[in-house]
Every structure is written in structure tokens, then in C-alpha cells.
Amino acid sequence: MNILGISAHYHDSAAALVVDGVPVCAIQEERLSRHKGDAAFPLLAIESCLQHAGIEPDELDAVVFYERPMLKFDRILTCALRAFPRSWRAFPKAMKNSLGEKVWMRGIISSHLGVPGRKVLFTEHHQSHAAAAFLTAPTCRAAIMTADAVGEWTTLSVGEGERVANGPTTIRRFREIRFPHSLGMLYSTFTAYLGFKVNEDEYKVMGLAGYGQPTLVEQVRKLIRRTPDGAFTLDLNYFEFHTTAERSYSSRFIELFGPPRNPYEPIDLDTAEGQRFADCAASVQRVLEETLVEVARALHQETDLPDLCFGGGLALNGVANARILAESGFERVFVPPAPGDAGCAIGAALYCDRIHFGNPDRDLPDHPFWGPSVDGSELARLAREDGHFAAEFQDGTLINQIADDLAAGRIVGWMEGALEFGPRALGHRSILAAPHTIEMRDRLNREIKYREPFRPFAPVVPIEVAARYFDIPPGGTRLARFMSGVFPVRREWRSRLQAITHVDGTARVQVLEPAMSPRLHTLLVAYGQRTAIPVLLNTSFNLAGEPIVNREVEGYSTFLRCKIDVLVAGGTRVMKRTSAMAKTQLDKIKEEVA
């Protein structure tokens, strides 16, 4: 049975193809269209999935959209009428936005793919999140929590999932919290207040939080009240997101927290104003963590299960995930590699397969690599056309050469195998560098990523030595598999892992099992043999404002436009001439370690 899952029209559109119960391809539209956060109907992604599996649209048994557009329209209409007359300005825009295209998804899918309307199915937004979190996790029975800004009506849901090997699957929802009461909207409101882009820059708030103190927690608690049943409500007097598209927060919000940040001015953490913004970020982060932990703790007490599957945009908050693991009572927390809306494409397709069609459960590969693959010979061809020296190596030789490059302080663009599905670069489209010095972090920020200096970089470490460098609690390695948890760097290693240690002494670490990415694992070991610290800085292979690279040509273009020294795709290594003369840091590191 061939089932295509689609998510589109809000942010991060994507397509995923499930064949006989197993995903065969999943990709975000932005990786192909090259527009970051592309929300358009994912025609390129669909084509890529179908091409990968070698099937035609008429061979699809079902096409599943990740939410119910009419239910969403119902919410938009109801909220606009409830807020009337304050919503009169936003109402025509909202109607035009919805009625122009978004509500007619059945027809739009039919018209693009040529499949009959009866084959087009819909799941609920949070059902898709729940399925993406539970059905891809290696557990047979788990509590499920989903939380994001808003789906149709739901903003947070809790439930339970059970699957029997080769048998039926059930996903039950116990309760939900409905719009406008939303933890995601609370966080997004602060994202807007702090001068960042809503639905895109929430991770910057998390990064900024590390620089502040939660001194404004009491003020944030005025915005969100806990209810006796364990849920919460927002005090809507402080918000405007439910009445207008222009601004998320109200004048009362400004009275409480002070004037908002001008997005065009940099945050100077040495000034009182800059520190106030960092304190705001730290305070909302603290309240978000506490609320999620309490909801998760209540769910654990109710289900008494050891495993929690957590999906939705809020599951990208690694600090909150680590606290849920530590404080909720769950032994393991599973966060999929794409917990946000893009991941709903895979969730919707799996939900349709297991629940709608009732197909038997299948174990799924536990990795995030569902996209197109790279070919080293294509990189060699491109580089030679430009007169660059491209060397093609056997695997062992290449790994040794790259380990030498990294130890010499060179920055490596690393492309191998299939593209990751989700927002994190997990070792197949990564920029790798030595993680030891602050200079490396600053160089990456200044010369390659062109981004705010307060944003941290992530490390990757082999699973067998992870506990030596990072303070990972029991169950934490699972959370760190897809870089979904933030854990402390051990105090004694912080001075030697400066580039990946955040200001609060933590890191969003990726713990790598050899089976998930054998070449990267071998590279880490080889690097460890040279420097005595088998940890690398791993950041996404893209420039600011661009999506992560997909094909060799995009990697090569990025390599040319910034100061990456070495580019690797498959077995091909390309090096910039100037980089060959870079200062060797190997001896310095060896000295330091000794």
C-alpha cells in the first residue's frame, strides 16, 4: 500500500511516502525549492518522494493531508467573530487567506496529482504529531504528549499509544487544551516581543535565555494561570494574537515587561536593556519548562508507563525536554527528528496506514535519513570544472585525511548519504569543526554562519564516551540521539570544549551510535586518536537565511561563498588553496590535553 503524507501552507511544508507501512522517503520542500521555511504546496518534495520509490501518482492508494482545513476554518471564523469588533481589521485578511486556497485542499491535491478526491484523506493536526512521535519510536506502549502553537483547535494534547508487533495500533487522546490557550503562542509572543520572527526564531529565545536570569517569572505567571484540572489558561488581556495578525502582545503586556526590542538593533548583553531581554527570555523559558514538566508528570501518574513520546513544535525545546526527562517520572522520552509541522507529513501517512486502513504494525528504521543521497563523483566533476583540486579516496584514507584536517583547525563541510528529515543536521549535511576554542565559535559565527554571537553550537560525540564529557542522565542518550536534549558539559572539560559549551555550561549534544552513521562515528574516533577528545562541533550545513544543503551543487556553492576550508561528499574531498596554509592547532591541543 502506497500512502503519501503532505504538510503544507503554514510553515515548513513537506512530503513523506510510506510503502507497505514503512517510510521510504521524506523531505521538506525548502530543501528542494531553496526557500527557507517554504510553506508552498510541496510539489517538488512530492515528486522527489515518488521518484525515489519509482511510482506514479495513480499508484498511490491514499494521499493524506496533515490537518483538517475545514476544522481550522471553523476556528478562524469562530475566533474572529468572538473578538468582533476588535477583529474587524484582521477578518477580511483571515478570510482571504483561508478561502483563497487553504480550505480547498482536497481539490488542490487532486488537481496537482490527478488522484480522485476519494483518495484524499485528512488527519487532525495533533493526531499527525502524535503518530509521528509514537509510531516512529522504538517502543510498543507509551504515553503521548503533543504541544505546539495551534493545530485546528488543539494546542496541547495528552494520550496513550499502543502497538502490537504485526498487530493493531491504537492511539487514544485523553484530553486537550484548545486555542487560544496555548504554550506555543505564549512562547511565540515573547519571540515577537524580543524582536525575532514568529514561527521561525523561537530557538533564538531559547539560546538567549542562557544569558539571562529568570527574574521576571512572577510577571510571566500572570499571563498563564494553572487550572485545578492540571491544565492552564492564558490571560487574554495580555495578548492580541487571537484578534489581529499585526501584533501578538497587547499594551498591558508592554506595561508589564517594558518596551519591546527593535528587531533591527542588535542585542547588547552588556547593557541593562540587553540584559532585560535576556531575563525575559529566561523567564518565559522557565515557565514553559515548569508547565510542560507538570503536564508530563500528571500524565505519567495517570498512565504509569515508562516511556513518553513527545511531538509538536515545543518538542524542539531541548532544555524543556531534558527537564521533562529528569523531573516528570518517565524513564525515556522519545522526540522524533522532525517533531514540528514538517514531521506531520510522515505522521499523517503512518496514522492513515495503521489506524485508518488498520494495517499491521511494522518496526521502523530508527534514523532521520529519509531524503535524497549525494554522489561524490558529482562533486568531483563540479570542482574540476572550476579548476579546484578534487581528490577521490577510499573510505579509510578519507577519514584519516579529514581527521587530520579537523585537528589542524580546518572547517569541514560534510555531506554523506541521505539527507536528514527535520531541522537538525545530524551528520549527513553538517559543518564539522574542532570544538576546543572560543576562537573557533567566533570564526564560525563571523565567517560562515553570519549569525548572532549568543547562539551556541552543538557537539557530536560517540555513544561509548558520551558520559565522559557530558552529564547525561539515564535515558538521556535516547533524547540526545536526534539532538533533542540539552545537557551539562562536565565541568572539567568545559575549558577544552569551549566552542560548544553554552554560557550556562550546557550543550545540545548529539550522541552518535555507530549503526546510525558509521562513517561519522569512525571520523569521531579518528579525531579522538589525534586530539584525545573524540568530540566535534556539528552545525547545519547552510548559510544564514538559507535552508540546509541537499545536493552536491548546493554544498559546493555554499563552500565557495564562505570560509569553509574543506568539502567532502561521499569519497570526494575538495580543499581551498588558502586553507592548506591554515595554522596547525594539533600541537596546541595535544599540549593542552597532556
Partner: protein, 70 residues
């Protein structure tokens, strides 16, 4: 390979599917627990408006006639 269809053809396919979607919305509102039956006529009216606008965008020859309604 996905066959490329003309804008008009796609517009007409979307138009053809809208009645089912509208019926689904109306049924949902009519049967809702939260007593939103009163919303049904407004929702259907807005959907028909959207439908006409979709048709006007897809079949440009009809656009002057449709826009003249307003």
C-alpha cells in the same frame, strides 16, 4: 512523474471539489456540541464567496462577470 496541468484545468478541479468540502463544514457545524449551528449560514456564505473568487482566478474570462457582483 507528475503531469503538469494548466491553471484553468486545475482551477476547475478545485471548483468541482468545493461543494463536498462545504457540505462537510456545514455538517460539522450543524452537528457540533458547542452549539455553533447559527454559524452555518455565515460559513456557507463565506465559502461561496471564496468559491467564486477561486473561479474568477482560475477562469479569467469569467472574472469580469464575477467581480461585477460586488
Amino acid at each position: 512523474m507528475i503531469k503538469t496541468r494548466g491553471r484553468t484545468r486545475r482551477g476547475l478541479i478545485v471548483f468541482g471539489s468545493t461543494f463536498g468540502s462545504m457540505a462537510q463544514l456545514a455538517r460539522g457545524l450543524w452537528q457540533s456540541d458547542s452549539d455553533k449551528r447559527w454559524l452555518t449560514p455565515l460559513a456557507v456564505f463565506l465559502c461561496i464567496t471564496g468559491l467564486l473568487l477561486t473561479l474568477a482566478t482560475a477562469v479569467e474570462a469569467l472574472a469580469p462577470f464575477i467581480y461585477s457582483i460586488w
